[in-house]
């Protein structure tokens, strides 16, 4: 573990903040990323159905294996194609 000294005026917390969220889902595209743990697909597909019913555009993606992070091309593809992501199902 490395300890660094803060070069800033320290007005913000040390944890990186989450990205700002949009006000509504209207017109936005949601990506659902299955991290390939068992039974997650059923859960995630149901989420996708319900969101589609609401009129939200949904695209499903899947990691090839749950043992490693999603490959770079997949991450780049997701970032290029959707506005928001639901990732699951970790246990």
């Amino acid at each position: 573990m490395t300890v660094l000294l803060d070069p800033t005026s320290e007005r913000s917390p040390t944890t990186r903040p989450r990205l700002p969220r949009p006000k509504r889902l209207d017109g936005l595209k949601i990506g659902i990323l299955d991290i390939a743990k068992s039974r997650g697909d059923v859960f995630l597909h149901r989420l996708g159905e319900r969101l589609t019913e609401r009129g939200v555009a949904v695209t499903h993606y899947a990691k090839p294996t749950n043992t490693r992070v999603a490959p770079l091309p997949l991450r780049q593809q997701i970032a290029a194609e959707v506005d928001l992501v639901i990732e699951g199902l970790s246990d």
């Binding site: 944890t15 969220r21 949009p22 889902l25 039974r39 059923v42 997701i78 970032a79 506005d83 246990d91």
Partner: protein, 70 residues
């Protein structure tokens, strides 16, 4: 998740309650504050209908993590 947020895509992770401590530890070591929704453990042995119900029950919580809370 951190990678997608770093690429400008707000992300919410869904995990079982088994993952709560692990998620906290990972977040601390990476200095991030990920948006997470937890569903009751276990999931492996659940039927399809049970899983679909879990999805229905948690949909609002998940959506709430993707839109701005007012």
């Amino acid at each position: 998740m951190a990678d997608l947020e770093a690429r400008g895509i707000p992300t919410v992770g869904v995990a079982t309650t088994e993952f709560i401590e692990g998620a906290a530890a990972q977040a601390k070591s990476l200095g991030i504050d990920p948006a997470l929704v937890f569903i009751p453990h276990p999931v492996q042995d659940r039927t399809d209908d049970e899983l679909k119900k879990l999805a229905d029950d948690h949909l609002e919580a998940i959506v709430a993590m993707l839109v701005k809370a007012d």
